[in-house]
């Protein structure tokens, strides 16, 4: 009866990266409403993972792609190469060792893709969502709603301007991860006539 907490990180990363900032009547609504209009996103990312007993952070870099019909491709290019493809059919991980389908990935991919379509409800199933700032500098703070998620994740902080710029995940054991997205290119769906 367990949601894989690191997977929660991932879909949070994916979903927040899709939201460029706007001027909102209700900031939260506008962030999620914008996601619904997103056709595709291309970004570069730098991930820094700090494990308390290690002297140096683990740094990885790569490319992130989202398309509302095809799904997500998360491609790590440095220090080694691997690719994670998330589609309606499931999650597929490709690395030097194997190409593997992640167990239960079909349901997870449904959650991820529903988040990309701007479904705040799914996120609120696990987290209390607090929004601060304005459309030029907004800040989303996510805190777990229940002990099971809280046992793994202390909080998630997302900052953005035009789009998501950074994301900081604080784990319950003191480890942390930060993600910085750069060079984001966002294509919106064409408006219906």
């Amino acid at each position: 009866m367990k949601l894989n907490p690191p997977k929660v990180y991932f879909f949070l990363i994916l979903f927040v990266v899709c939201f460029p900032t706007y001027t909102f009547a209700t900031l939260q609504d506008k962030i999620f409403s914008k996601a619904k209009d997103t056709k595709s996103i291309t970004s570069l990312f730098i991930q820094k993972r700090q494990i308390s007993v290690l002297p140096l952070p683990l740094i990885s870099k790569g490319k992130f792609n989202y398309h509302y019909e095809e799904g997500i491709v998360w491609e790590i290019q440095e220090p080694m190469q691997s690719k994670i493809i998330i589609s309606k059919e499931g999650v597929q991980t490709e690395d030097n060792f194997a190409i593997a389908e992640t167990k239960g990935s079909s349901k997870l991919s449904e959650i991820l893709l529903s988040l990309f379509s701007g479904n705040l409800e799914t996120l609120e199933t696990y987290f209390y969502v607090d929004v601060k700032g304005d459309t030029n500098q907004w800040h989303l703070l996510l805190e777990p709603k229940n002990n099971l998620v809280a046992a793994q994740i202390a909080s998630i902080s997302i900052k953005g301007k035009e789009s998501v710029e950074s994301l900081y995940i604080l784990e319950s054991n003191g480890d942390s991860s930060s993600l910085v997205f750069t060079s984001s290119r966002i294509n919106l769906l064409e408006e219906n006539p």
Partner: protein, 774 residues
């Protein structure tokens, strides 16, 4: 004159003695009814004990505890937020019920498990990880771990990096929770399907699920909850024995009252319409009351508790017991002399009651406790009805003959009709043979049905709900398993591992490996031998000087000071030390203390992908409860069929011995009625319950035919048999409407048999009379 006085006094003495017996029985029954524990609604007690492996009460106890006391309610709202709100309300409501406990969080479970396995994290490998370590070299293992550390989809890691850098402990703990479904750790745990998110409310009962008070509290609470949420659109699914027990009780009570009240109303109306006399009404009332009181008392003498299903079946007794009274009253009205009536009917009453009682008592051989009770209940009730008629009947005063009006229907309509029929004897014979051939053909075509679902006492909607919950939760099936026995706990664990290994080799390609397919206690506690092997493998591939750990440390530019002292093998991971929480997740693990173990299949719906007979490990037995029950049903059906054949031949011999040539009426009536009844009620196939009911059809046909032979077919015996058939047809007709398959089949066969007997026996009588068999 003096002789008459003595005869009257003897008669009075018998009557008084019988009244005393009835009063004693009444007192006994009254005490039992008021003792609160005299009735039973445990549907499991209807299943024969042979279903469970013989001599294994511990296993039976463990399985029953696991499956009896827990229940699940799944709630889905129009969206996940509403579903959560509704589920929270339900939890609040259920938590207020005394006698049950609602499980709301698994965080404590995770904490206990995490702490328990911590010292053993370097000697436990789930099978997939073991294979991976065997296959990869240290460099590859280190690269793979580094890749995983950089992945945004990081694994579940309950221990700190320094304590479990390769997350072996995390993988092990995660494997304990691997089921078919993906559970979501929402505020209230949930599971998702295509239709949306179902919130999972899990409860445990303090007592057994057959506690009527607890059943009512739970059902009332859910009913109130449903009506309170009537403005919401939501779905609710239930699973658990308590719901089946409650529905079984509800159905049994409803059917007892439907059949009982239906039969009583029919009898009262018939008596008032046909006999128009309060003394007749009182007489039938006395017969029915004595019959019921004796039936209850005798059943309680033989069994501690009477099952509600027995009472449902047994309520047909009213219809049968009234038969003897009708024969007596009709004849009495015709002769006006009670003593003469008794002597005229004595042989017929005795033969017919003995044949019926014999037919019922054959069911004592049934392995089904419910049927055994039923046979004792009805047989004793019939005996009491017959005795009451013979002893109390003669107490009526003499009167002038006044035959009942119903007899006119026979003389003015049926008798001429049957007489006309005899003139076309050959045509009737051809039609009769054609019907028989068609009947036999139909029975042959339908074949037999030994499906265990015949024993279901739950309605379709509850069964559907149960099935859906099992599908959503991916629960394991408790119906099929391997039982492993050994001399010691470690031997049992080693045999279990060997079984998994053998099964892996037998499964066809493309099927998940045995460990993913099975629900085994070695997933919680491997044998010490396996632990040692895994410890050595981990040490060699990861924590040796040139192992993956030192390669990883170099890549991470760390001196990895926390890995300098590699722990020794810890021999204390033993079955006796497992925390209770693990027994709740893997209940079969608790059997290991008794040198036994059970391996279940994970998927409840999956067909067996191998032949269990291919597993030849000493001390390993494959148990298929469904198969056991099916073979019990099949075996008993065959056994009862032979008994039926024996009973049939016995009736042939007895009929000819008692009635000479006229015995052919009995033989023809029972043969024809049985084939027609069986053919018309065959449904999806002939079941054990068809055959058992056929015994009753034979008993009833014998009753009717015997009375037509002695005292003979005339307007009185026809009227009596018509009234008798009518009341029994109402009782069994109501039984045939039952939602419970076995009651339905039983009712249908007897109903068709009754109607056929009533219609055909007089015709056969006239045909035989025409041929000079009189």
């Amino acid at each position: 004159m003096e002789e008459k006085i003595i005869r009257d006094r003897i008669q009075l003495f018998f009557a008084l003695s019988w009244v005393i017996v009835i009063l004693c029985c009444g007192l006994f029954s009254f005490t039992k009814i008021n003792s609160n524990d005299s009735f039973e609604n445990n549907i499991l007690s209807l299943i024969p004990d042979q279903v469970f492996p013989s001599g294994d009460p511990l296993l039976k106890d463990q399985l029953q505890k696991r499956f009896e006391r827990s229940f699940v309610v799944l709630v889905k709202g129009k969206d996940s937020a509403r579903g959560l709100a509704i589920a929270k309300n339900l939890v609040d409501k259920l938590q207020k019920i005394d006698g049950l406990f609602i499980v709301t969080s698994n965080i404590e479970v995770e904490a206990v498990i995490k702490e328990f396995y911590f010292p053993f994290r370097h000697q436990l490998l789930k099978p997939e990880t073991r294979k991976l370590l065997q296959r990869l070299n240290p460099q590859q293992i280190a690269d793979r771990e580094l890749q995983s550390m950089h992945s945004p989809l990081r694994q579940y890691s309950p221990y700190k990096f320094q304590d479990d850098p390769f997350n072996l402990g995390g993988s092990w703990i995660q494997s304990l929770f691997e089921r078919k479904s993906s559970f979501l750790s929402t505020e209230i745990p949930s599971v998702e399907d295509q239709a949306g998110i179902w919130y999972l409310v899990v409860g445990e009962l303090d007592t057994n699920p057959f506690n009527l008070e607890l059943q009512q509290k739970l059902l009332r609470s859910i009913k109130n909850f449903t009506s309170e949420q009537s403005n919401e659109s939501f779905k609710l699914l239930t699973s658990g024995l308590i719901f089946h027990a409650a529905e079984g009780t509800q159905i049994a009570r409803k059917e007892i009252s439907t059949i009982g009240i239906g039969s009583l109303i029919a009898i009262v109306l018939l008596v008032l319409i046909v006999f128009r006399s309060w003394s007749s009404f009182l007489f039938i009332g006395t017969v029915l009351a004595s019959s019921t009181i004796v039936a209850l008392s005798v059943t309680w003498l033989f069994f501690d508790q009477i099952h509600l299903v027995t009472l449902t079946f047994g309520s047909t007794l009213l219809g049968l017991a009234a038969d003897y009274s009708f024969h007596f009253l009709v004849k009495l009205r015709s002769t006006g002399d009670p003593m003469l009536t008794r002597s005229l009917l004595l042989k017929g009453l005795l033969v017919s009651s003995f044949s019926s009682i014999f037919a019922y008592l054959i069911q004592l051989f049934s392995p089904f406790p419910g049927l055994q009770q039923f046979s004792v209940f009805v047989a004793s009730g019939l005996a009491a009805a017959c005795i009451t008629v013979l002893i109390i009947g003669p107490l009526f005063g003499k009167s002038s003959p006044n035959p009942i009006e119903l007899g006119r229907v026979f003389t003015s309509f049926f008798e001429p009709l049957y007489n006309r029929g005899t003139k076309k004897g050959k045509l009737i014979l051809v039609i009769g043979l054609a019907v028989l051939l068609f009947g036999v053909g139909n029975i042959y075509q339908k074949g037999v049905d030994d499906d265990v679902r015949l024993l279901n006492t739950s309605g379709n909607s509850l069964m559907e709900s149960e099935k859906k919950v099992q599908e959503l939760l991916g629960n394991f099936s408790s119906q099929r398993y391997f039982l492993i026995e050994g001399e010691s706990q470690q031997e049992v664990l080693e045999k279990t591992e060997l079984l998994q290994h053998e099964l892996s080799g037998l499964l066809p390609p493309g099927i998940p490996k045995a460990q993913q397919y099975l629900y085994s206690p070695v997933s919680v506690i491997p044998s010490l031998h396996q632990q040692k092997l895994d410890y050595e493998l981990i040490k060699q591939k990861i924590f040796s000087e040139k192992g993956a750990a030192s390669i990883l440390c170099k890549k991470l530019k760390s001196d990895c000071f926390w890995m300098k002292t590699y722990p020794e093998f810890d021999p204390n991971l033993l079955p006796t030390l497992l925390p209770n929480i693990l027994f709740e997740i893997y209940p079969s693990a608790s059997l290991i203390s008794a040198n036994k173990s059970v391996v279940f299949f994970k998927d409840t719906n999956e067909k067996i992908l191998f032949s269990p007979s291919d597993i030849k490990i000493s001390g390993v037995t494959y148990v298929d409860q469904v198969g056991n029950l099916t073979s019990i049903l099949e075996g008993f059906r065959k056994q009862v069929t032979w008994l039926l054949v024996g009973f049939f031949f016995f009736m042939i011999v007895a009929s000819f011995l008692l009635f000479g040539n006229r015995g052919i009426l009995i033989i023809t009536a029972i043969s024809f009625s049985s084939i027609v009844a069986l053919s018309l009620s065959a449904g999806t196939g002939i079941t054990l319950f068809h055959i058992l009911a056929l015994l009753l059809v034979i008993g009833i046909s014998v009753d009717t035919a015997v009375f037509f032979i002695t005292p003979g077919l005339n307007k009185d015996t026809w009227s009596a048999s018509t009234l008798a058939c009518l009341t029994s047809a109402i009782a069994f007709g109501l039984l045939s409407l039952s939602k419970v398959p076995l009651l339905h089949y039983f009712g249908s066969v007897v109903l068709f048999g009754l109607v056929c007997t009533w219609l055909i026996t007089p015709l056969i009588y006239f045909l035989l009379e025409d041929e000079g068999f009189r």
